[in-house]
């Protein structure tokens, strides 16, 4: 009765938008809120998470025949912890300032529910190729989500984007946006917008939604 498992391409595409880890599945929220006060830490975080997710998915997929059901979560977390240690030492060695700024959030990748859920849903059941495609798609989706939130927060909070000034110097900078409350408010509103777009799209199709957004702007 088992449902047909999705192919590699489906896994990849699903990861980016239709099953976006942050906006659709609400997974891995801690780094999403904690490191998105500016683009640079957000992208470093996305890179580290992508490295761990891809490596962990590959390793778990390679040893999926050996997994015992009651021990699998433990095996997942220990595999992930190993790769997180590698990523953490790498960041500390090559981008020390950034590693200081990210602080405990790099080791906290170990408990990012996104990675464990991908190991459980995809890598422990499907072949290496599918697992790799899934990991790359999910990483892209995660990076996209981090980028959208960090863009809103950095531009409104400091008037910059990746450290470049994009708003005039007279922009006061909404201090609240780079502080913790700004993270919650931004993510809440963006979730609402994502939900609204997907509802309208389901009703009227993508093209009409885009036109509607455009006419709103004018």
């Amino acid at each position: 009765m088992a449902r047909e498992e999705p192919t590699a391409l489906e896994r990849f595409i699903n990861g980016v938008l239709p099953e976006n880890p942050v906006y659709r599945q609400l997974l891995g929220m801690c780094p999403v809120l904690a490191v998105t006060s500016a683009m640079k830490p957000a992208m470093t975080m996305a890179g580290a998470t992508a490295f761990v997710l891809i490596c962990a998915n590959l390793v778990i997929s390679l040893m999926r025949k050996l997994l015992k059901p009651h021990l699998r979560i433990l095996v997942f977390t220990l595999t992930i912890a190993t790769f997180v240690t590698i990523a953490d030492k790498f960041l500390a060695a090559y981008v020390y300032e950034m590693s200081k700024q990210l602080g405990p959030y790099v080791p906290l990748i170990i408990v990012n529910c996104l990675i464990i859920s991908r190991c459980e849903i995809c890598a422990s059941k499907q072949s290496v190729g599918v697992a790799a495609a899934d990991a790359v798609g999910m990483s892209l989706g995660f990076a996209l989500a981090l980028a959208t939130i960090a863009t809103v927060r950095e531009i409104l909070g400091a008037g910059t984007w990746f450290g470049l000034h994009v708003l005039p110097g007279s922009w006061p900078g909404w201090g609240i946006m780079v502080l913790p409350p700004g993270a919650f408010l931004t993510l809440g509103l963006l979730l609402g917008i994502a939900e609204w777009v997907s509802r309208t799209q389901a009703r009227t199709g993508l093209w009409r939604t885009a036109r509607m957004l455009w006419s709103w702007r004018r």
Partner: protein, 231 residues
């Protein structure tokens, strides 16, 4: 009395000023997932407080005696095996793997205990009890303790580690219970359809975070009050 004051300050700092959920953003998954009813939320908070204290206790012991730079146990083993006594031994590269292993085992024990003695609580937790393993708050507590065990000149004792863990757990309980209370009322409110569920919960959390920012600077007043009381 210095010790008592510093313990109280660590506790208040972890519970209110730098609340684990609303300042450090750890433990967001249960904060959004299990905050629909106050009693479940409170139970979840208690479970997290319990696990975070146990894992801080175990991880402090392991870090202090085995994992920190210059810890006694590996040095002793090294010298027993006839190694050069001048060698620096630092096992802290293993700390993440050890921590997550300790946390996963202690969660397993708590789960068995709750299933045996509190079946209704076990049913209402559902999938979230095993998920305490992947609750960032627990690992974050252990990592904060580890941070204070790196510098050999000012090491944290067990009492300080436990004050931080208990404060963090109680701060989590406060935040998740408040959130559940607000969400019970929100069910009756007219929320725009796309924001229903997680969206409005996050916005409420943002407003709560603003409220908790009001605790900034409380520690000075508390320290002053304690010193007047003890004089």
């Amino acid at each position: 009395m210095e010790t008592l004051t510093s313990l109280i300050l660590i506790f208040i700092g972890a519970a209110l000023i730098n609340n684990f959920v609303l300042h450090y953003f750890v433990g967001i998954c249960p904060f959004l997932g299990v905050s629909r009813r106050v009693d479940t939320a409170f139970g979840m908070g208690c479970a997290v407080t319990f696990v975070i204290s146990i894992s801080a206790l175990l991880n402090w012991t392991l870090t202090y005696f085995v994992l920190r730079p210059g810890a006694p146990l590996p040095v002793w083993v090294w010298q027993l095996a006839g190694g050069d006594p001048a060698t620096q031994i630092d096992l802290s590269v293993l700390s993440y793997i050890v921590y997550i292993f300790v946390i996963a085992s202690s969660v397993q024990f708590v789960e068995m205990y709750v299933r045996k003695f509190f079946p209704p609580l076990y049913r209402s937790f559902g999938v979230y009890l095993p998920l305490i393993t992947t609750n960032c708050a627990i690992l974050f507590g252990s990592l904060e303790v580890m941070k204070h065990l790196q510098d050999p000149t000012k090491l944290w004792g067990l009492h300080e580690a436990l004050a931080l863990a208990a404060g963090g757990g109680i701060g989590f309980t406060i935040a998740i219970s408040l959130m559940a209370g607000i969400r019970e009322e929100l069910d009756l409110a007219d929320v725009p359809a796309p924001l229903k569920g997680a969206g409005i919960a996050l916005i409420v959390a943002g407003i709560m975070a603003m409220g908790f920012m009001g605790f900034t600077g409380v520690e000075k007043g508390v320290a002053g009050a304690i010193s007047t009381l003890l004089r």
